[in-house]
Each structure stands twice: as C-alpha cells, then as structure tokens.
Symmetry: C2
Subunit: 890 residues, 2 copies
C-alpha cells in the first residue's frame, strides 16, 4: 500500500483536519477545517508536504502512487462539481496553489483557470454565456502557465514582462486603456499571441492536455519552494527548508463573471490597529490576484454591503464564525460568483505590533482566549515597533501627499527608487525611503534595507503593505497624489519634484508624505500595551534591567519599569566637556602622584553622576562598570588636536605625541583595557570606587535606599578579580568610616573573556555577581572583531555559513555552552551568585529565552527594548512550563 | 601528645631518614641520611617544615610544644658535643640554617656561631687558644644576627652595608687591607662597634642570652621563606609556597681555626662538563660562606691533596661513598677543623645541560642507574642550552680578558652594570651582558634578563656561577683581568675602557671575554646527547614534528630527526622577492578574473617551494597551512612605497592608497584573515591547492612518497571548513586526474579559536586532522593581544596574578580544558582523527607533558627545540607509566 498523499475536501466533508498543518500546509488544513465547519468552500484536494519532500528527494520525480491518487481525487472533484476536466462542453477548471505550514504571502507560485484549452474554452463560453470572460480567463491562464510552469520571464532587469508587453501592444492596437475594455475577439487573439510567444521564447508548444497541465503545474509549485524569493523569505523568517509545501488543487470559482461577481480579501479585525471590525477590500468583476497585485485600487469592504447585500451578510456571518472557531484574527480570501459567496482561504491574519497587542488583550476581554495565550500571541520582535518613533507633534510639516496608512510609525530617509539602490545606500550607512510605483516580491531586500516604503499604487493589503507590516516598517501605500518617474528617479507631488537623495518623511500611522527631515519622538507605554506588560510581569521569572550610562538614561529605565540598571558604563562620563581634559592630564602624568592629582579633579564630577543616577532609580540595583576602554581612546588623534591639548596642558607637543604613540595598540580589543588598567593604575579604581561610595553614603545619610554593584571588567584570571576587589573593599571601608554610615554593596565581574567562563569557580570564590558581556564574548569566542567583521559577516550569512548574525542573536551552541559552564561553575562555589547578561543580546527574544533556560537572574538591554525582553521572558516562562509539564507526563 | 617537630642526628644515629625531605627539607633529610651512613657530620637537629607552616599559620608564634622539643634536643646536642650552650668555659656554638625540600641556594637566611656573647667568647678563646679566631667568629655572629634576625640592612640602594662600612673603617684605622690581617683587639673593638650600630639603628640591645638568640634565629629562618628573593626564586622555579622550610640547628665546626683548618665545596663530577672527577675549591682558615660569597678567590680542590693529605684522602672516600649511596652527582660542603674533616651537607649537584647529559649517560654505563632513570635525570629545559650558540670558529676575536668558565655557551650583548639596567634594557628589546664586581641574590632578575654574566670576583661555585648554570646562561666569573668601575659604568681590560652600551661577547665554555659583536653558530647533536635522544625516542609515545616554512627549514627538521613538518606557513613564501608584487597585484585587482591572473604568476613559485620541501622530508607528512594573515600585511605602508608600487603596477597611487585604507582593520588579529580570506576569495585557496597537488603529483610520478596535509586556518564554524574543503577536494581531483597519478592527502584545520574547540564534533565530521594553534588560542581565550600584552604581562608576573607567561607555558586550566574538549569531541565523531599542536608551546616541556596526557598524536615545535620536546615526551611517557602503575596497584 502506498502512502496517502492526497486529502479531499468538499460538500461539507473533509479527509483532513485543521490540526494537520505540518502535512497539509496551513492553507490545506484550513480548507479542510472550513469545509467541515460548513463554510462555503469550493471543493478540491490537497497534495501533502510529504509528497513535496519526496518529490525533491527524487530530484523532481513523483513518488510512486501519487499520480494515481491525484487522478482518483480529480474524479471525486468532477463528481462534486458536476463538471469534467477537459470536457469541451462543461469543463472543470481548477486552481493550483502552494501552501506551506506557515503563510508566505506572494513567495511561491499559483496557477489559476487550469484546464482551459482551445476546446474547453468553448465549454466555458457555453456555460457562462460570456465569451469575453472565457477568453480573459484563458489568456490569464496561458500567461500564468507560461510564467510559473514554463519560466517565461523577463531575462534581465531592464526587460519588461513579455506577456505584459504583448498586452499593452494589444491595448494600443485596440485603442483602449483598461484591460477590462478589451473585447472577446481581442482577448482570443491575445491567447494566440501568448502561445506564439511561448513557442518562440521557450521552443515548445503550449500544453493543451489538461491532465498534463495539472501534472506540470503541481511540479512547478513544488519547485517554487526553492525559488530565490522563497529562500530569502525563509531565511528572514527562520523557516526551515525541510518543511516543504503542500499543493492545493481546488475547483475554480470566478469573481470576474461580470458585475455580480467580485473578489476580495478581508481581516476580521483591523490589521493595523487591531480594532474589532471587518476590514478589507474587494474588486468587482475581478479575480483574486487583481486585489493583491494592486493593479486596480480596490474598494473598501463596507461598499460591498450596498453593492451585494446578501453576499455581504453571509460573509459577515462566516467571518465571525471563522474567528470564533480559530480564536484568532482571520485573513479571509473570498470570491463572489454571480452573487454567491465562496471562501477561498482563511488564515491567521498578519498584524502590526499595535494590532497584535490590541487583538490579544481584546480577545482576553471577550473570553476567547486566556492571558497566557494572549502573551504567546504577540511576537516580541513586533513589540519593538510599538516603540517606534512618531512625528514630533510640535514639528512644522510640509505635507505633499496622502496615501493609505498601510503600516504604522514614522520614518525619515533619503529617497531611492529601486530595491537595489536601497540596499546599496543602506550598505553605505544611509537611511533611505524606498519609493515605488508598486512593490513586488523581488523588492524584499530593498524594503528590508529601507526605513520606510511609499507606493503610488495598491491598497492596504497590497504586497507593499503586507510585507511592510510584517517587517515593522512604516509604509504609506497607494498614494494617488504622487506621480513616480522611475526611469528619471524622481516623483512629483503637488507640483514639486522630489529627486533621488532628497530627504523625505513618512507617517505610516496617518498615511502622510512629508518633504524634508522631520524630527521624531519616542512612543510611550500605555493602554492595552501596559495591560499586556502587566500580564508579562506576572508570568516571567527572569528580571529585566536596562543599560543606562547617564541620569537621563536612568529616568527612561524607570519609565519602562525596568528592575534596575544592568550596565552603567563609566567611560562615557569621562568624555563629556572638560572632563576629558582631566582624563588626558591623568594619562600624560609620569607617575602615580601626577595621576592622582588629575583624578582628584574627576572625583566630584563622577560622584555627582552617581548621586543623580542613584536618585533616579530609587534603591534599585545599579551595576557600575569601572573604566574599560584603552586609554588611547581618550587622547587626541590629529596633529592639531595634539597641539591644542599640549597647549592647554602646558607640555611640549612631542610629549603628547610620544604618549599617544606609546599607547597605540595593534589589537586594542585585546589590549590594555578593562581590569588590566585598574591593575596597572590602581589609583583609577580607587577614584571610581570613592566616587561611588561617597555618592552612596550621601543617599544613605538621607535614609534613601541605594544598592551599588561594582563591576570589574574583562576579568579572565581569579587573581585579577581579587586584586581589584581588594582596592574596592579598602576604599569602601575608608569612605563609609569617614561618612559614618553603612552601605550594602556587591562586587562582581563582567564575564566577557572565554577564560572567565572556564575559571568561573575561581572567580566566584570572591565575586558576588557575574554579568555576561556577550558582545565581547562573541568577539573572542568567534575571533571576530566587531568593527572589522562587516567585511565578511554579510557574505557568511549569504552563503549560509552562519544562520544568523551572532552579534544580534546569541550563538547558543558555542557562546551559550560557555555561558552555561560559567553559570554552573560560578554557582557551584557560590549558591546565591547573581548572574545576568548585559550584551545587546539581552533585548533579543531568542536570546532572552536562552538566558531564561540557563537560569540567569536577569537580562539587561537598552531601555526601548525592555518591553521586548519582558514579553520574551514571559513567553520563555510559559513555554518552559509547558515543556516541564510535557516531560512530567511522559 | 604534641606532634614531633624536632629530629635529632649525631654520633652515627639519626631519627630522620633520607626520604623524609618533605618534612625535614633536603638538607635535614640528607644530614640524617649521612649520619646514619657514618659520614662525619657535626651533630644537630632539624625542626620540621610542619613547624614552619604552623608558625606561619599562627602569624609568627611557635606551635605549642615546639620549644620544649628544641630544648630537649639542645640538651642531647650538648651531651653529644661535650659542651654547654652558654657555658662561659666550654660553650656550644651552633649554626642555624634553612632547608627546603629543594635547594634554593642563597635564597634564605643562615646564622653561624650562634651562642656567642661577651662571656662565652672567653670560653671559645680558652678552648681554641686563639683569641683572634674567637673575636672573628664573634664579630661574624653579631653581623649575621644583626642582618638576618634584626634586619639591619642598607636602607636604600645607594647605602652600603653598614657592618661592611664599619669593617672597612676599622681596616683603614688599623692600616690593613685584608680582613685576616685584623688582630684580636681590633676584632673585639669591632664587636663593640657592631653592637653599638645595632642599638643605634634598631633601638635594641644586642641579645646576649644564647637561648633567646636561638629562638629569634629560628623565627628569622622561618620568616625568610617569604622574603622577596625567596618568593621570586620560587616563582622562577615553580616551587609552591605551601612547602615551607625546615631549620637545621647544628653544632659549629670551624674552618677558620688557623692554617690547619679550611672550608670548601666540592662536586663529585665536574658540574660544567660532567667529567668524572672530584671538582671543587677551598679556602684555608675560612668559614664556608667565604667560599660561596666569592670575596677571596679560592684554591682548586687538587691543592688540598698537597696541603692536608689525610683530610683529602678521607674526603675522597666520603665523596665516592655519598655518590654511590645517592646514585647521583653530589654537591658537598665540608669543613676541616684542625685537620679533621666534617661534612656539613651534601645534595644533588646542580649542573649544566652538558654535564646533566654526560652524568646521566655515564651513570648508566657505570650501572649506577638505568636508562629510564637517566632520562628522568635531565631537565628538558636544560637540554636547550646544549643547542645554545657557540662562537663561530672562523670569527676573528678581540679577546680582552679571561675568567673562569663558569657556565657554558656563548652570549652577545651590550654591557650594563646593574641588574635594574639589565631588566630595563631587556624590556626595551636590547640584548645585554650584565657585568658585576660580583653578583648577589638581589641581582637575580637582572641575570634572568641578560644574555650572559661577567664578574670580576668569585669562583666557579660563586653565586654568579651557580645561578647562571641553573638558568642556562653563559657566564665568565672571577675575571681578574678586568677592573670594574660600577659608579662610572665602565670596566677596563687590557688598557681598554668598555662603557655601558658597548657590545661584548662572552664565551662561557672557554672563559673568555671578547670585545664587540661576534657571530655565533649552532651546536649539533652527537655523542652522549645522541645516545640520550635515542633512549628518549624509544620511550616516548607522542610524535615530534617541527614548524618549517622553507626547504632550508625542512632540512634542519631532518637533521634533528623530527617526524615530519607540523606547520608550514605559506604566507612567508609570499613575501619573498618579486612574489610580493604578484600578491599585491592580486590584492589590487577589482574582480576574481584579475585576481586569478595575478595568482597564476604565483602558482609556479609556490609549486617549486612545495616540490623542494617534499623532497627534503622524503615522504614524512607535511602540514601546509593555507594563507592566513590579513591582506593588508602585504601592502606597502608609507607614501613612498605606495608610489613605487603604483608605478610598478601602472595604477594611480590613489588606487593603492584607497585599497590599503579599505583593508585597514581595528583588530587585525580578529579580522579578515584565515579561512575567511579563502571563503571571500576561493581563487586563493584554489591556487594554493593546485600548487600543492601539482608538486605532490610530480613526486608521485617519480614514485617518491609524499604526504601533504592541507590545513584550513582559523575555522570556528563547521560550514567554514566544509566550504574550503570542497574547494581543496575539487582541485585535488582535477590535478590528479590531469597528472594521472593518485596522491594520498588529508584535509584538516588549525584549532585556534575558542569556538572551534566547542564545535569540534561539527568540524571533525569533515576534517581529518586538528592542529591546535595555541598561540592564537591563548590570545583569544585570555583576550590578550600578543603584540600588545607586553605592557601588562610583565606586571602580571611581578604581582603574581599569573604564575607564568601563558605564551611560553600552556595555560592548562583554561586553554587546556578547551583543548581536551576539542580532542574528545573531535574523536567522538572520528576515531582516527589526527591531533597535534603547532603553537610555540610545542617546545615547552610542561606543555609537552600536558599534550601527552590529553592524548595528542604529536607536538610540533621550532627545529632547535626538537630534542627538548623529545626528552619531555619521553619523561611524560615514563611518568605516565608510573602513574598508571600506581593507579593499578590501588
């Protein structure tokens, strides 16, 4: 017996079920589920993902038995539809669509109207009484078949789609401007021209046999799983290549049968805001792809109520039922054929971060889901976009156009007109706005590189809009106010010409296009988002702190309700204003006495910083890292600067130059920095410790809580830590004795050198806390200088040598193992060792989950990523519980 | 019952035994052993190292019961000697000496003639009938007691020893030049002056009570374990602080009782050459420290035969018996008192590398020891000195002085006159010769920093000579031909003045001082050394290869009988002559085609290199590392060089400058190098692989054996390796197909990035060998840039933050653990994975032992270290067997 590769659905019954997404793909599983629910779905069958994988394993051959199963199910479909495949009188037409486990909009191929040929088109004419519709369907089919199955596409970036060129040519000949104005005869002629084009360009005749058409189309859909667009999409969305795609073969229904027919898409809630209302658009007398492609601007769904009230009512009921059934916001494709509603597919609707939060919180209120489910519904990466900048309300705006508010947030950048340029400019560090007539899947890379996207055509479900929302990029779509001249690299708006390189601001929330570079402000935590965060706080077991170097940063920390400061870098304090002069004086001093004199000038300034930071955080812990960068960073670089410094210090310029030269390093990353400085110049550690403890004592005297945690950087040897800790403890004792108060404090270290992980037990004998500095750890464990790796990291990602940038997402296999070792060994000698992370990974959701798993006490990230980290931490805790439960049940 | 802290020896009986070195120290155990053997040893007792440790634990207080035991044993000693401690008629005098498990010559303190005071000195006069001797002993005792017990020492580097100043003053007053010319009255007066000096400088009266003297002296010896000299010595010789020292209290015998008395030291074999003859020196009418201190130049031992024939005969017999008993060359201290021989101590004699080898091989011939013992007798670090340079016999020499050939080998350097200067100059990278009147323990650091040592005073057992031999530094001692003016920083020899900074050459083997910078040549393997190496080859189980980049290096490899080339760096081949032009042309090319054109020029040259190397090693394996350094290393640095290169290439100079700037890196060590280059520019890997396989095929066609092992550098990700291996395998297939021969080859990687150790399993799936690049591994695991770490590593060693330089001796705790992980994980997926090491640690004995222990297949080191590595490997195998045996017996 061969494997079951084909699952039938139709007439209220389905062989598959909604939970079979791995096998049937998301679309196939939903069609089965919907059919069983009684939703009016055109009947059809799904070829499984297993068949696809088997097909690829056999390098493009069907597995034995597959085609027989397809033929059997085709017969059932003919029976269900009362029509026969290839029948010249009453032909069955089918769509052939891809359908992976997760939705990959526009990434893979689809063929519609399959089954048409010169004979069956006559049957379609007979059945519909509409030759124009029949030939329009036929020419669409030939065009799609030519593109998808035969690969007849533009051969260079300059060439336009040859089918489109032929269509334009025909329209010129017929002297019409719209496709819909072409009459049946013209379309019939176009079919012949398309076939000639195929023969000429591909050297083969158009395939007239419907069964062969089907066989070729199924193969083409399987193969489209590995087309470059799909591969890029998978990489961006971390979808494994081993999933494969299912193929759905479904009876065609027609939205282009005339004015009583239509095609549309709708969301059960507003995908941009999350508001609870049906939200969508439709095109009368059109097939579905016309809506998505954005060639004609569709009408909003509300107008359907007026134009086809019965179908509208049925759709409303069906949509509500689907959302209720799936307990999540649905994205529904529908067709109305001669006034009768067909649902073509439903799936979980993509949404903005704002919408994700609102839908999740609303559904808890509606008792559709519980709080835990709500927390798992929101992608932490999307949350960041909620904190995306908005346009400063006080800014003066030169608005030049309006469009659809397709993806929220504001973006500022310089105008470019092609995806390639967007990538090239962004590669040079430029912020760009990508302006296109309309976007297509080939533009994905450029959209990724852009700050925001502006299109002249297309609706809020157009490619540009859907993709931009997925990426969290602001987008203004379908702006009829602008005229884009892609060739000249300009666009016009309100009579003004905007050229490549000009500054432009987009407000994706309001749908506005503004000339120039407008100042932006940050968003705040409130409403549903604050509710979700409260739930997250209740679930998560790992703390969230922020990295904050100044009192202003510390204030933001409190606004985002972080639980302390995980990293306060003191060197930033040294660069400000006249402080750097004292630092330079210290560096230029010839002995400890001279250094002490210079450091004495810095002491009151550092102390004031710490007083202000301690005041802001009101007793929360503050991890203060002692001076870390190599001293040459503080010295002037150019001859002029050196002369100025020498003048100000009253020393010969040679002295400054000699010092700078003597401090130069081949590999500063691995040089004289971190605790190595404090050991060479203990007076620096002394001054910093004194500033910290004097500040802490001042608060303590006012009976204010204060908890400094002093972090010795770059420790790799137990003795390094002991040396520096002794200095800190001595100063602490001196200062608190002088002040006559007691101050609780911890002394710990940053674990950022591979050796520190290995000898963590040795270090933890004396250290009270560890904080993983995963930025430096990534540099040393990989041997990648972050400043230099740009040259090859991009290529490594392109070639698949690395699955992701290890500076963005923690390398769990390598660095992660060392971290685990560090935690285990550290806690072996000190049970209550406090362990956290303060690298940039602290705000990356996958990394936060890892930190939760290996038992860190907290993550510390940049202030604006606190909500991301909190949500990721809550999800990690929830998933951990599920995992623990599963394990317990076994 | 309290612990036994004191062990008595005397009159042919001893409570201790020779194996109790841990408890009694080396000296105490030997005194016990010798006493039991019937050797004429002055009686005494040993206070154990446990007492010392307890004393330190109690912060300078004696453990309970200790002093009672001392008193009891003092009484036994009084009985044995027929004299009483503090008896004004017949006083017992004792020496109080330190004695650790291993000998630390001159490092800790000794007090002689203890028990003298104004009353007992009268008894000594009565007993000896020699008031001059008695007062000389008394003044010596007061001086030593003042120094050792009361710490009366020069207070600054400028000040001279105040006792010495008083002595000089007295000699001037008495108008004599030699100490021995001072008469009893003068010496008595000197005692009074010394006591006044103590009262004045230390504010205490001299301690007249003998028992209190003893108590204070024992404490002082205990404390001297932690004096700075001793601590430095322990660090240099890797002696744990936890060992502590024993104290030997022994009846005094006197070598300064007149012309029938003498003190001397002797070795049972020549410590410089290993020749089997009694070798030593003595001073008539002197105490032992006069011989060692080098104040008077002693007479060679042969002359004792004439001067005191009976004592000489007894000494000869005793020495032979001691060597026979201990089965090793002995270093014996003796005193002749009124013609009667006393052996004060015997210990294993320190010897040069040459002597160590000869003594070991001779003793096997004499059937005193077996081959295995002989192998364990030679310190591999000493073996390197056998390969130390010699003076080129063809060189013209300007000999200006002769001295004692105190430590063999030749050294060239610039003259300095103080230990501090030696360290300072060496710190700047200068090679120096330290010239001193005589050296003292304070000079150790400077001696370590110097290439060689020249002294004007002292014999072949003087401090300078003993320490220099231990360090393997050439030394010419006691050169009466030179007059040193330390204050003016010059010395005179044969009427010429040599100043600080002048070049000087020493021949420590011949005892010659030569003006200028003489060319040196390398030593060769032969004679006893070759024999020992043959034994080592038979015992060791780990292979020894060499690092060799050129055919000339490969020839040396064969001379030293290495088992292949463990590292052949190809970049060195790229720098030669006109090759660098082609390399630059490649770098400046804008595309792969241009690079290929330039690489095609390099191909024949690289191929020729490999042909020559393969020919040299006659079928032994050759690990060839593909291009490793960042490309900017090949580009010109200065404007002039850039202009020249641009001219030669026919490109604008801006092009060269832009390229150089674009390739500049912040941290080249962590930059675009290693396999990252080969991945970015696969054409480089292709060319190198082609050169290797074309060369290999040429030999294979001549039916010559050839085994290339191609090493991909800097791999940290499995995919990196697979990418590069695919290129190599493809080229190998192409070239061997073209040539029509088969060539066996391996492809492997250098493990030099921490992550590579962690993912070794992933890499070993495709790699056939690993070679640990411990230089880079040390850099990345510690986060130490080798080029920059000089600034702080020296301080780390000084402060004891690091016990040793991790670039010299492998860090077993950190790097070692990662290596072990790498070996385990690699072999888990590939049982026959070949694993070696090619960092400089491959020639360091302790590191070789570690490599043996973790199961590496071979070590690879610089050619001249091959004998060191072989001997270390043999010792590791022997010690491993002992360990395995011990474990088996449990």
């Amino acid at each position: 017996m061969t494997k079951k590769y084909v699952y039938f659905f139709g007439k209220g019954k389905a062989e598959g079920r909604g939970v079979m997404k791995d096998l049937l793909g998301g679309k196939g599983a939903n069609l089965a589920e919907m059919t069983a629910l009684g939703v009016p779905v055109p009947p059809g069958f799904t070829i499984t993902t297993e068949a696809c994988l088997e097909f690829m394993r056999r390098k493009g051959k069907y597995p034995p038995g597959l085609w027989e199963q397809v033929e059997r199910n085709l017969a059932r479909l003919e029976h269900a539809m009362g029509a026969r495949f290839g029948d010249p009188k009453n032909p069955l037409l089918v769509s052939v669509r891809s359908g992976a486990r997760v939705s990959m909009p526009g990434m893979m191929d689809t063929v519609l109207n399959l089954g048409l040929n010169d004979r069956t088109v006559q049957g379609l004419i007979a059945r519909s009484g509409n030759p124009r519709f029949a030939y329009d369907s036929y020419r669409r089919f030939v065009q799609m078949f030519g593109d998808v199955v035969l690969g007849l596409r533009p051969e260079s970036q300059e060439e336009r789609d040859p089918f489109e060129v032929a269509l334009e040519q025909k329209k010129r000949e017929e002297k019409v401007t719209e496709d819909t104005d072409l009459r049946a005869g013209a379309l019939k002629d176009l079919v012949a021209r398309f076939k000639a084009l195929i023969r000429q360009r591909k050297g083969v005749a158009f395939q007239e046999d419907p069964e062969e058409q089907l066989r070729l189309a199924v193969s083409a859909v399987f193969e489209s799983w590995n087309n470059p667009r799909a591969v890029t999409y998978r990489e961006l969305h971390r979808i494994p290549a081993e999933w494969g795609t299912a193929v759905n073969v479904q009876a065609m229904v027609f939205g282009n049968l005339g004015e009583r027919s239509a095609s549309g898409v709708a969301f059960t809630r507003d995908p941009a805001t999350g508001a609870k209302r049906l939200y969508g658009e439709f095109l009368v007398n059109a097939q579905g792809e016309d809506v998505v492609a954005g060639i004609r601007t569709p009408e909003p769904l509300e107008r359907l109520r007026e134009r086809m009230p019965r179908a509208y009512r049925e759709f409303t009921r069906t949509a509500a039922r689907l959302e209720q059934h799936f307990r999540d916001m649905q994205d529904i494709e529908f067709t109305i054929q001669d006034g009768r509603l067909y649902v073509l597919q439903t799936r979980t609707g993509k949404r903005t971060g704002t919408a994700a939060v609102k839908v999740a919180v609303d559904m808890v209120r509606e008792r559709l889901i519980d709080q835990k489910t709500a927390l798992l519904r929101v992608d932490p990466r999307q949350v960041e976009q909620l904190l995306h900048p908005m346009i400063d309300p006080k800014a003066k705006l030169n608005r030049v156009a309006r469009g659809l508010p397709a993806s929220p947030g504001a973006a500022v950048g310089r105008v470019v007109f092609t995806a390639d340029e967007a990538e090239a400019w962004a590669g040079r560090g430029e912020k760009v706005i990508l302006v296109r007539l309309e976007t297509s899947p080939e533009d994905i890379g450029g959209m990724h590189a852009a700050q925001g996207i502006l299109t002249a055509r297309g609706g809020t479900t157009s490619h540009a809009a859907v993709v931009a929302r997925g990426m969290g990029k602001p987008c203004v779509a379908g702006s009829g106010d602008i005229t884009v001249h892609e060739a000249q690299r300009t666009f016009e708006a309100k009579g003004q010409t905007v050229r490549e390189g000009d500054w432009l601001t987009l407000d994706g929330t309001a749908g506005e296009v503004i000339l120039g570079k407008v100042s932006l402000i940050q968003a705040e935590l409130s409403g549903d988002f604050a509710t979700l965060m409260k739930w997250a706080d209740a679930e998560r077991t790992i703390g969230v702190r922020t990295n904050a170097d100044t009192p202003a940063d510390a204030r933001v920390t409190m606004q985002f309700r972080a639980e302390g400061i995980g990293l306060c870098r003191t060197e930033h304090m040294f660069f400000e204003g006249n402080r750097v002069e004292a630092v330079r004086e210290m560096i230029l001093a010839d002995n400890a006495a001279g250094r002490r004199r210079a450091l004495a000038k810095l002491l009151p300034m550092q102390r004031a910083d710490f007083v202000a930071i301690f005041e802001e955080v009101r007793g929360l812990p503050v991890i203060i890292r002692l001076l870390d960068p190599p001293l040459h960073e503080f010295l002037p670089k150019t001859e002029e600067e050196m002369a100025a410094v020498a003048g100000a210090m009253g020393v010969p310029v040679e002295h400054v130059r000699d010092k700078a030269e003597s401090l130069e390093e081949f590999n500063p990353m691995l040089g004289h920095r971190g605790c190595r400085l404090g050991i060479a110049f203990p007076e620096i550690t002394e001054m910093q410790a004194r500033a910290i403890f004097e500040a802490a004592c001042r608060l303590a005297k006012q009976r204010k809580k204060v908890l400094p945690e002093i972090m010795i950087p770059l420790v790799g040897i137990g003795e390094e830590f002991r040396h520096q800790r002794a200095v800190v403890d001595r100063v602490a004792a001196e200062v608190t004795r002088e002040a006559g108060v007691r101050v609780r404090y911890l002394v710990g270290t940053m674990i950022e050198i591979p050796r520190a992980c290995l000898v963590a037990d040795e270090i933890a004998r004396d250290a009270e806390f560890f904080s993983f500095g995963t930025n430096d750890l990534t540099q040393t464990v990989y041997g990648f200088s972050r400043d230099d790796a740009g040259k090859f990291l991009a290529q490594y990602l392109d070639l698949g040598i690395l699955p992701e940038d290890p500076f963005v997402t923690l390398d769990q296999r390598g660095i992660g193992e060392l971290m685990q070792l560090g935690v285990q060994r550290g806690r072996r000698v000190r049970k209550d060792l406090e362990v956290g992370i303060c690298g940039e990974h602290g705000g990356d959701p996958a990394s936060v989950e890892f930190c939760h798993r290996i038992g860190l006490d907290y993550v510390s990230c940049s202030p604006y990523r606190v909500p991301v980290a909190k949500l990721a931490a809550a999800q990690a805790a929830l998933r951990g519980k599920v995992r623990v439960k599963e394990m317990g049940e076994k």
